[in-house]
Symmetry: C2
Subunit: 309 residues, 2 copies
């Protein structure tokens, strides 16, 4: 019986102005995805285990992504996928994406398929569609490629790896709240039409962000992590955000934005950032709103890594 | 009598996806702007000469920009401004911007004002407003700073000089057609509201363009010089453009876009570009439409330069 285990990291999409385009992988959390080939012929059969409990393979992004890949490539046989969930769900940390990413990268290795990372991102995105309703590639690309990714297009899938020159630290502020159906809800809040003035300003912000990510310019990063379309439209989901962001910037975080569809917040930090003050000031502010928050310091993560047992 | 003469270059705004943000100065054409101080006190009086002919100072961007600056800074006295026009007008080559840029930079030197280039861009933009109806900063910033500029914001004015790493050549394809009230007309054709899908794709394109401009990546430049909002909406002004662009890309231009509000087309080129084939194929195509076109090879220009006589 062949078997591969993959470690797939959490990620933060958008980073302010980069809606559906930019994402950063971080080593705050990871999923452990084990793919076993039990039979190498016969009709496709997938058994899915989530933290040891068997679940519907159509409802888990790891198995759903692998199924889409198997259908497309005419892969036969009996497989089991087992996910040890490390990335918390429903907090905007790329949890469903991490599982899908790990599964397709493991399959590529196990079955010696030789697929490009772009192609793997394509299949992982289809898997993501199972959970979010609308497939998007940013989180899965970050988990697969590692570092900071820029989704150039999704059809065909083309991902650019940004050589993030800055050795910035990352902090996640994770409010412990669950919003039912959050990802779909958050998507539905994005406006369908945008005023041209905001189009120009968003294009400017994202360009500054991308420049800042590649050359490490602090002020470009800080400005580029702002957004006036998507975050603004979703503000009712995380009303604490403007105040928390203000504190982070006052305490010299490089920049701060909502992580994916929220409610978590991602900060980029360096030596000038007063991390302790951020914790001291943000914690009581969240408490007043009846929200407990975790603060997780971490680093930019590499892509999916694998080992054979 | 004190006197300064400034050389101010032509420019191409937008470069595809960078509407109202990106512009490139080129040495294809230049204006020569001479500012004389005839009296250094008394009420402000400006005499404006365009190619030797006295004209209304309210209707020329050089004098209008200087007037706005003088009002704001309480500059007194009697001045004359004389523009020898080198940049052809109405062709999307930053003609009105070049005059405004030269005039304020000359005034800064003549009166020893010590203003920043951002501040000078602000006044030059106000001058531009006299001709286009809606002030925009891209062309004036390119003429003032030289090279490739990125307008981060106009209020307050903040311009980023992009260190264009590539020593790319530039070619302008200039159709000899005049469209009455073109700049205003072109502005009125830009949609007020844009679909979110196009917002995402434009932000992506502009980010790729900015990355390409700074690191010289050919494929990023080529993609980033595309646009699906502004150029598309103005296509009836230059119906020949899609076909001409196709030829340019087939002949390995790095990228091609409408220059500013058109009708000129700007190409970025390198050694792989077959310039002669572009001319051979585009000329007859324009002829069929009854349009004569000039082809001007040039380089990226420096900012306004001055000499005292």
């Amino acid at each position: 019986m062949k078997k591969i285990t993959a470690i797939s990291y959490s990620s933060s999409a958008n980073l302010g102005s980069g809606f559906d385009t930019l994402a950063l992988a971080h080593d705050a959390f990871h999923d452990k995805i084990t793919l076993r080939m039990q039979e190498n012929s016969g009709p496709l059969e997938i058994n899915m285990f989530h933290d040891g409990i068997q679940t519907d393979p159509l409802k888990n992004t790891a198995s759903y992504a692998f199924m889409k890949m198997a259908e497309d490539l005419d892969i036969k046989g009996k497989f089991s996928i087992s996910v040890e969930k490390g990335v918390p769900e429903g907090l905007g940390l790329g949890s469903s994406g991490a599982s899908a990413a790990g599964s397709v990268v493991a399959a590529n290795r196990l079955l010696d398929l030789g697929l490009s990372l772009d192609k793997l991102t394509h299949y992982a995105m289809l898997g993501e569609g199972a959970s979010s309703g609308s497939p998007h590639a940013d989180n899965v690309a970050a988990s697969i490629f590692g570092g900071v990714v820029f989704v150039k297009s999704t059809n065909p899938m083309k991902v650019l790896s940004l050589n993030s020159s800055s050795a910035n630290g990352v902090m996640l502020i994770i409010p412990k709240i669950k919003i039912h159906g959050k990802t779909k809800l958050a998507r539905s809040m994005v406006p369908e039409m945008v005023h041209m003035d905001n189009v120009i300003s968003n294009s400017r912000l994202m360009s500054m962000l991308v420049l800042g990510l590649t050359d490490g310019d602090r002020s470009l990063l800080r400005e580029g992590m702002n957004d006036n379309i998507v975050e603004t439209s979703r503000l009712s989901l995380f009303p604490f955000y403007p105040e928390v962001k203000d504190i982070c910037l006052q305490e010299n975080a490089i920049g701060a934005s909502i992580s994916g569809a929220g409610p978590s917040i991602i900060l980029l930090m360096d030596r000038e950032t007063n991390v302790e003050n951020i914790k001291l000031r943000v914690k009581p502010l969240m408490k007043e709103r009846g929200i407990d928050a975790d603060f997780v310091q971490c680093s930019i993560a590499r892509g999916v890594t694998m080992y054979e047992e």
